[in-house]
């Protein structure tokens, strides 16, 4: 053992132990954690605030009573049923249209054709158009020019136009995630494009498509602006009986109650917000369930 001879690993150039790296790593992680903390804290505050405000009116009357001029007697029954009607009809129009358009764009459209490229760019742009613009379109084109009036049908068609670009985009993404080897294999066996779409592309894309559709509908159910333009019916004391019924929906009802001077109506609005949140939660849970049920690995 001589003092001059160092063990080979000890000289600086071979040293692998360092503290600088781990500090930088920890700082980075802390910054990321803080960012998510801000988002969660804001959401948490909002939820708690709404629940505290809503507490006095979170009872069955809220679900069973119609709007009334006396806040103690008023409920959101017509708005809840109206929302379900409008969203149901929107889903009915959106799903076939959106999925079919996505199939065209993803499977059949030749991306080198100028019109297909134009459609693609326009769909992306439409997804970014503010919802109020769709309200103007619905009012001018559907309610007035097409004489559909201020009905469930008009509202559903307006919301369909609003969410269709998003549905098309997510459906395309879902189909693009399927390995092209599946399509190749099917076509190489002598299957037609149509058989390939029905037997592989669509079934395999169901989780992605379903998730996208439900999230898009979740957005639609919370929309007040385009429907306010359509007529802004807030004092509706009946539930819709068909697509040609007049209606109100939860966001409009909430908007209306919030703008009243009486404190009791504000409480009522908070309670209606809780109902809307519950509806959203149910829809998103369905999306997660569908995604997990059909989840696949390649």
């Amino acid at each position: 053992m001589t003092a001059e001879v160092e063990p080979p690993g000890r000289s600086v150039e071979y040293q692998i132990e360092t503290v600088r790296g781990s500090i930088r790593d920890a700082t980075f992680r802390l910054a990321m954690f803080f960012s998510i903390g801000v988002a969660i804290a804001a959401l948490g505050t909002l939820l708690v605030q709404v629940f505290v405000d809503a507490l006095p009116r979170l009872n069955l009357d809220l679900l069973t009573q119609f709007p009334a001029s006396l806040p103690a007697l008023a409920g959101a029954r017509s708005a809840i049923i109206g929302s379900i009607w409008v969203i149901g009809a929107t889903a009915l129009f959106t799903i076939p249209l959106g999925v079919a358009a996505a199939i065209y764009m993803e499977v059949f459209a030749d991306p080198r054709r100028w019109y297909n490229r134009m459609i693609e760019v326009n769909i992306q742009n439409l997804a970014a158009v503010p919802s109020i613009v769709y309200g103007i379109l619905g009012l001018g084109l559907l309610a007035r020019a097409a004489h559909l009036g201020q009905t469930v049908l008009t509202a559903a068609l307006t919301l369909t136009l609003l969410v269709l670009p998003v549905v098309i985009i997510v459906s395309r993404e879902a189909m693009r995630a399927i390995p092209s080897s599946i399509r190749d294999a099917s076509l190489a066996l002598g299957a037609t494009e149509q058989q390939t779409v029905w037997r592989h592309t669509l079934p395999l894309a169901v989780p992605g498509i379903a998730t996208g559709i439900i999230l898009a509908l979740s957005r639609a159910i919370g929309e007040a602006a385009p429907l306010l333009l359509l007529g802004g019916l807030a004092y509706v004391t009946f539930t819709p009986t068909g697509l040609d019924s007049r209606f109100t929906v939860l966001p409009i009802q909430i908007f209306n109650w919030v703008s009243r001077p009486q404190e009791e109506f504000r409480t009522l609005a908070a309670a209606a917000i809780v109902v809307l949140l519950a509806l959203l939660l149910v829809m998103n849970s369905i999306a997660i369930l569908i995604r997990n049920h059909y989840r696949r690995t390649w």
């Binding site: 991306p111 080198r112 390995p179 599946i182 294999a185 099917s186 190489a188 066996l189 299957a191 395999l204």
Partner: protein, 305 residues
């Protein structure tokens, strides 16, 4: 299976069955080279199934591969070899019109299948692909059961089959997979090993009773034992089918093929782009012993590639 128009309903079919070695149910592993044993390959194919004359394939204005002149003979195995990017896979995909799926792909020259122009205006690519099947580089079974994978082709093509179970068993037997999966036909195909999945894909392809089977580097993702099984199976299948195989592996081409086409890459002086070119097509024995082109000689002797 009794359709008279099926190409397999050939009287020579029975003869081919008798030639089958008795040990067919236990595929031998590496080392055995059935094709090479005492087989004489005529100078030119006796019965040409696909005739390729002066074909070039373009993606847009880019020539991916050119100079293709090959005759694929019935019951022969033809190997397409060459370095990466030489266009051998592109060429293979042109023989069953899979290139149609790539926007901008087009072809000059003539490809004829049993005397009919494969790219004729009245030819339906779907029908072409029923006659000329394809096995891909990476095993790509459908996310379905083993049984449904094999039955898929007959179902979608509307083949009249008296009993689908028989079709499935026959195809899996030909692909040397039956014994391994006969008790788990309803299980998911993804549960099989890579080599088994590739044999399943081959079974799926031959279940529609094609005339020609195209194989695009079918063993490149597999281990040597799985490769040996598939090579042995291919030589078995060659008793019935015309097989065209793209391979990176020169030894594989030498082991199993009757004829070999060698491809190389060439740089266009004007554009600087690299495109593929078929250099030479001959009997495998000749390509690997006395090739007539220097570039072939350099490649097979390991000077490049």
């Amino acid at each position: 299976m009794s359709d008279a128009d099926e190409p397999m309903a050939d009287p020579s079919h029975e003869l081919a069955d008798q030639d089958r070695p008795a040990a067919a149910e236990a595929p031998p592993l590496a080392g055995r080279i059935p094709r090479a044993t005492g087989r004489t390959v005529p100078d030119a194919p006796e019965e040409i199934v696909i005739n390729v004359a002066d074909v070039a394939i373009y993606y847009g204005s880019f020539c991916a591969v050119g100079g293709l002149t090959v005759q694929f003979g019935r019951r022969e195995i033809t190997a397409l070899i060459g370095p990466s990017g030489c266009g051998k896979s592109t060429a293979l995909r042109a023989f069953n019109r899979m290139n149609d799926l790539i926007p901008g792909a087009r072809l000059t020259g003539s490809v004829s299948y049993r005397g009919q122009d494969l790219y004729g205006p009245r030819v339906d690519p779907i029908t072409v692909r029923r006659r000329i099947g394809m096995v891909f580089q990476k095993p790509n079974p459908f996310p379905k059961s083993i049984y449904d994978n094999v039955a898929y082709g007959p179902r979608v093509t509307g083949m009249k089959v008296p009993n689908m179970d028989d079709v499935v068993e026959e195809a899996l037997t030909s692909a040397a997979l039956w014994d391994e999966v006969k008790d788990k036909l309803r299980q998911h195909a993804f549960g099989l090993s890579g080599g088994q999945q590739q044999r399943l894909c081959i079974a799926r392809t031959i279940a529609v009773r094609p005339d020609v089977v195209l194989m695009d580097e079918p063993c490149s993702a597999l281990d040597p034992i799985s490769t040996a099984k598939i090579e042995y199976m291919m030589t078995e299948l060659a008793d019935e089918y015309t097989i065209i195989i793209v391979t990176h592996n020169m030894q594989q081409a030498a082991r199993i093929s009757d004829r070999t086409a060698f491809f190389t890459t060439e740089v266009d002086d004007a554009t600087g782009r690299r495109s593929g070119l078929m250099v030479e097509f001959d009997r495998t024995a000749k390509i690997f012993s006395t090739p007539s082109d220097q570039r072939t000689e350099d490649y097979i002797s390991g000077k490049f590639g």
